[in-house]
């Protein structure tokens, strides 16, 4: 009948002095339309109530459940077991600080990234509640939304060789964030301002172009194009700055 799935899950509770990092095996009978969300919850409710993992919307919208699934970072909620072999290995995302088992702290990483990129509209204009909204071309709005679809799951960072080598690398998610503001007509920052943020090895010039970020992005963001776009822009800005000296 249905398969017996074997799960190898990374276990470690840093808050328990008796806990040692190790892999633990769980066996579960596969059911119709089973996702890793369903499977992990069943393991926790029926076999080990201490198992830590993160889910929130469980609908592929919030990005909470990034983990390494059979060697590849992805969202557990929309990973169907029928697309996986009978043996499934689950590890927490690297780069981020481990909270316990499969749960990592993406919040702190991303908050630091907002601070570094000053991730908000920089403008001198005051909001006037009595005026009509400022007009915007629909194509521009759609293009901004396209980049704002990032759910901050951390998969791109976890899959990035540079991020694994240097802690201060801003990652594809951070670079994508900069691109989002760079194309927004409401943001009055200049290319020089952005150069101060990402015109170095911690930013766009640290990217080795391996593009695993785009391969694993569960929202299919055009990260490759953005990295190319920023590299050209910042390359040109770099030259301009050189000649001005």
């Amino acid at each position: 009948m249905s398969r017996l799935l074997k799960f190898n899950i990374f276990r470690y509770n840093p808050q328990d002095e008796l806990s040692e990092p190790h892999m633990e095996e769980f066996v579960l009978e596969e059911t119709d339309s089973m996702t890793l969300f369903i499977a992990l919850n069943r393991i926790r409710e029926e076999q080990d109530p201490s198992l830590q993992f993160d889910f929130c919307c469980r609908a592929g919208i919030c990005g909470a459940c990034g983990m390494v699934i059979n060697g590849r970072p992805g969202l557990a909620c929309h990973t169907k077991t029928k697309d996986l072999p009978g043996e499934i290995t689950l590890l927490p995302l690297p780069v981020f600080k481990l909270v316990g088992d499969l749960s990592v702290d993406t919040g702190t990483w991303f908050r630091e990234m907002y601070t570094r990129t000053e991730s908000w509209i920089h403008t001198e204009k005051e909001f006037d509640p009595s005026a009509l909204e400022e007009r915007m071309d629909n194509k521009e709005a759609v293009a901004i939304y396209e980049l704002e679809r990032c759910v901050e799951c951390g998969c791109c960072v976890a899959a990035c060789a540079t991020a694994r080598l240097r802690e201060d690398f801003i990652g594809a998610a951070g670079l994508n964030r900069v691109a989002r503001f760079l194309i927004d007509p409401r943001d009055q920052r200049t290319e020089n301002d952005y150069y101060e943020i990402i015109g170095n090895d911690m930013g766009i010039f640290g990217c080795m172009g391996l593009l695993a970020c785009e391969d694993v992005c569960p929202k299919h963001l055009p990260l490759q194009n953005q990295l190319g776009f920023l590299r050209r822009k910042m390359g040109i800005t770099s030259l301009k700055r050189l000649f001005k000296k």
Partner: protein, 614 residues
Amino acid sequence: MQTIYTDLLVVGAGLAGERAAVEAADAGFSAICLSLVPARRSHSSAAQGGMQASLGNSVMGEGDCPDVHFEDTVKGSDWGCDQEVARLFADTAPIEMRRLAHWGVPWNRVVPGKSIYYKGGKQYEKVEAKEKEGLIMARSFGGTAKWRTCYTSDGTGHAVMCTMDNRCAQAGVEVHDKTEAIALIHDGETCSGVVARCLRTGELITYLSKATMIAAGGFGRIYPNTTNAVICDGGAHTMCVDTGLVPMGNMEAVQFHPTGIVPTDILVTEGCRGDGGTLLDVNEKRFMHEYEPEKAELASRDVVSRWMTHHMREGHGVKSPYGEHLWLDIRHLGEEHITGKLREVYEICTYFLGVNPIHQLIPVRPTQHYSMGGVRTNKDGAAYGLKGLFAAGEAACWDMHGFNRLGGNSLAETVVAGGIVGKKIAEYLQGCETEFKTALINDAVKKQQTRIDDLRTSANGSENVYKVRAAMQDALNKGANIFRTEEGLKECVVSLQDTLVRAKNVGLRSNGKGVNPELAVALKLEGQVRMALMVAYGALMRTESRGSHNREDFPARNDRDWLNRTLAYWKKPDDDLPTLKYEDATEVVEIPPGDRGYGKSEIISADTPKGKDK
């Protein structure tokens, strides 16, 4: 133990909480939001469809204004709402949408010229005006007279949430994520903050504040089948219920959304129907227009959910291993529309169902979706019962939704109410002096530490937390669903009372060390069962049908006896039923109760003398 002090403490970092925090921060006060998850994962971000505001930019929204929006909202509420609040909301919504645009939301904009749209499966043409080019565009939604729903594709919540969180970072609002508030600190009169549990280490932390706000969303997870995120478990509500002083308003008003997908209950947006999608039965035949000739698929959610359930009961449902369902058809909208304006829907269908909605039908059924009830507040967002406690968004019963809220009104409410209540909190904080009594704080912390220790050592018993939780969910599902009867509700109440006893006797099977997810569930379980009892007992007592509350044995809306709001208190910890009180639904009446224009129903008018209602 760490103690953190702030002027405003917000429990929740979704749109309502962050909007209020920004308002307080802009007025010069310190503000901290506590959140179970990083702010951008808040359930606000899952809202796909959009936000209602009567900008009237689209040609299909021509002539729209706050008056029409107000009228739709009051009708939508089945006259159960506070009309002063609905008025405040409708008037402020357009300003808030424009403010969001200023802060960075990439709203879809008006593109002038000819375009096609669909309604009831048929194709129509519209021409957008040249002079409106680049203004905020709107789409159609259920229960509205005009196209009024502002949107960014079908990722509105996500886009607005990003902008709001950016704005928080800019304004210096701190978000302490992976932190769960577990008890209010209060002396019976004033709230002075919370005891919280750090979800990185499991340690307790006290947060002391002059003003505390509950903005933690809905509590759909007390039901087994819900569109809500797993964090929408009512944990923050239970802290208020535990005080015995703060009432919950209209807990029996629970909204079921027509299009949860089968079997995972993930929501596909009402925008599907707004953009012209249709509901089909087992014979792939449209049926909503037969029940609701005027509005068809675009009647309010309570009405559509009810007719869908009725239609399945009549034998027109599609049988599946997960029970019966119906079909949602968006195929005629075409690939460009589906992969553009309905992309999240496209992704949900392909990822979770293996269904391609460009060519295939989507299996749907009504699923628990929204809690109209919540922490009862006045129109300033101040909670009843405790000074210094506020609430906004889905967590609150501010009460612009009454017994049914319209699609797109809740996402709009988050920012509108967040702004209004945030301003009132800033006024409250101005010149506010307070004392933090150490004995009170120590007591509160000690009580929580004892609870945790007792759970860890199974001092009270060894009931399994997950089994008790399932029993609660099962009881509600059976008795307090879309259709309700006296018999079913009585059974539900008795079964929940039994579950309450079990909830007091839970013990952990794991060691409870560190973050421990089992402990997190256990800490709120008893409170959740109390809330479930508020839902079921409130529904049993309300002998009428209004909005989403639908009593088969009392099908009429009874304005004579029930034009009021239920207040549910849990007076003493040992009680086995909530104490119910009632207050008038609205003090100010702009629109007297009348026919909604959809969802035919009998009405016992307020003027009908007693005994003449048959």
